[in-house]
Amino acid sequence: MENLLEQYSKIVGVEVINHIRQLANPLKGARILHVNSTKVGGGVAEILNRLIPLKRELGIDAEWEVITGEKEFYQCTKKMHNSLQGDRDDISSDLLAVYEKTNQENCERLREKLEQADVVFIHDPQPAAFLHFCKNRKGKWVWRCHIDVSHPYRPVWKYLREFVKDYDASIWSLSAFAQSLSHPLYLITPSIDPLSEKNIELPEKEISGFLDSWNIRRDCPIITQISRFDRFKDPIGVIQSYRLVKNYVPVQLVLAGGGATDDPEGEEVLREVRAFAEDDPDIHILELPPDAHRAINALQRGSDIIIQKSLKEGFGLTVTEGLWKGKPVIGGDVGGIKLQVINHHCGFRVNTPEGAAMRIRYLLKHRDIMETMGMNARQLVLDNYLITRHLREYLTLVVALLLGSEEKIELNYPSH
């Protein structure tokens, strides 16, 4: 059976994979540990699910650990997440005590691995305090922030900053998110995996089968937003847009959310969305399990337009997924969506439900433009947002961290 890198070379080209292999050469045998807060659900888990085996195939001793905590810990980190995205929500000292205690306990459990690793990547705020409790670390530590922290609620950021400032480097998805810290602020945009269940090609029969099972008709345009049931994703605004379109064109709306184990607020938002939809038979609200990857893939492929009307967004991997399937995307003018959705090229960025409705109507009226945008969309992702580019940047960063800090790092080579 082909190894993973060979499989990717069929999509991105052999030269891209050779480039990655050579870049990884000096890192053979290096111990690299990733820590995050969930094994399933959410973009971070999806990326790590594939990055770790890829690094191992390159000869790197890569591992992935997940922290565990009680309900209160996740309440705290959810509040932290929302506050970092701008919600003015103070966190009680009791909850912060749970946060620190949970970090300390998990750090204790993983101490040996954490101390021995050459490079440790800590993802997002949940395990950010690890460094504080790991005094005898040997390697370089990097904090990877996947959230839009462009306008954080300052008291919460100040609290977290105390834990983050001593890292050797941090990684941010966009320069607008990077907060002032004295270590290097690397910029790496996330990516999708073209070989994952969520992104591989699917037979038409399977797509139809999924849509039939949810009573979604193929003879009426389908607009889909896939995301957690989270207020920052503005599901209510999406329904408002749908209603504005429905006055002129027959259309169906799909709101599909996969749960994540670290998101306690989801159920409450889902209830609000169901109430707002008022049993409209053309609004399909699907609560999908975190591993419903093929179902999500089928939904995206079966849709005419993908919508991601977020009010705040980290990078927006559901946008990338939609683009990869050759669909025009209508996205909120925030975060990483600004980088991915290029107006008139592969979709439209909008600021209001009215704006989204206007663009949906425009696209449904101009099928030829939708098709051209779909082709542009796929090429955009092929060139910029696949996991192979992500892997290359991680490797470059690790080489830079371990082997030099200059602007130009030359791994020993003779001159011509």
Partner: protein, 224 residues
């Protein structure tokens, strides 16, 4: 032949936020005066190695910002036409940009501003250079390898070479010069390639075309 083999090197770039951002043209000029030289390099050349989406309308990040966010097409055009290759070093290039902005500021009644969220974020980069382990002692063999070269190799040998070779040449031309006058026409062809207004994919094809035309005898009937 008396020439060292051509060793294919490769490079990968990683972007680093400097934390400096400008909301208007005056702030932009002030930051430019002192920003890390790597940031000037990144915003002129880095675009070739970091994600970009379509045919770049303007040829460097400064010009793109001026057009899309400042909505000042005059200065966008003036910044876009700057050819970074003709400057002796990054500081000369920096000075050229500053002078263009100062002229614009002098001629403007108002300092152009952008709305919140559209600031120019100064970014710098680190480049890791590594050895592919492949060498060629014969230009014909090198020609055959060009279509399979990584874009990092093309960047290193054709773009980055300009800031580390004495005559600001690309590595291919420099190497071919070591064969006395045998490849003069091919060197001219390579030197005539404008590495701007292009993508690395297109640049790789242009370089290959020069080599290929030469060896097919298409350029001036010469053959090696």
């Amino acid at each position: 032949m008396g020439n060292q083999p051509f060793r294919i090197l490769d490079c990968a770039l990683i972007a680093i936020a400097t934390g400096q951002k400008a909301q208007n043209l005056r702030e932009f000029r002030d930051i430019l005066k002192n920003i890390h030289s790597g940031s000037i390099y990144y915003h002129f050349w880095g675009g070739l190695l970091h994600p970009h989406f379509d045919e770049p309308e303007f040829q460097n990040d400064f010009a793109v910002w001026a057009a899309r966010d400042l909505h000042d097409l005059k200065i966008a055009e003036e910044l876009s036409i700057i050819d970074p290759n003709i400057f002796r070093d990054i500081d000369d290039l920096r000075q050229e940009v500053i002078e263009i902005i100062e002229e614009r500021l002098y001629a403007s009644e108002h300092v152009p501003w952008v709305k919140a969220g559209h600031e120019f974020h100064f970014i710098r980069s680190q480049i890791v250079i590594f050895d592919s382990g492949i060498t060629y002692d014969n230009p014909r063999k090198l020609a055959e390898a060009i279509p399979k070269m990584s874009l990092g190799s093309i960047f290193f040998h054709f773009i980055d070479a300009r800031r580390r070779t004495p005559e600001s040449k690309n590595d291919f031309s420099a190497w071919l010069s070591g064969f006395n006058d045998k490849y003069t026409s091919m060197i001219s062809g390579l030197d005539e390639i404008d590495p701007y207004f292009t993508t690395l994919n297109e640049l790789r094809q242009e370089i290959y075309n020069v080599f290929n035309n030469y060896f097919k005898g298409g350029r001036n009937g010469k053959s090696a």
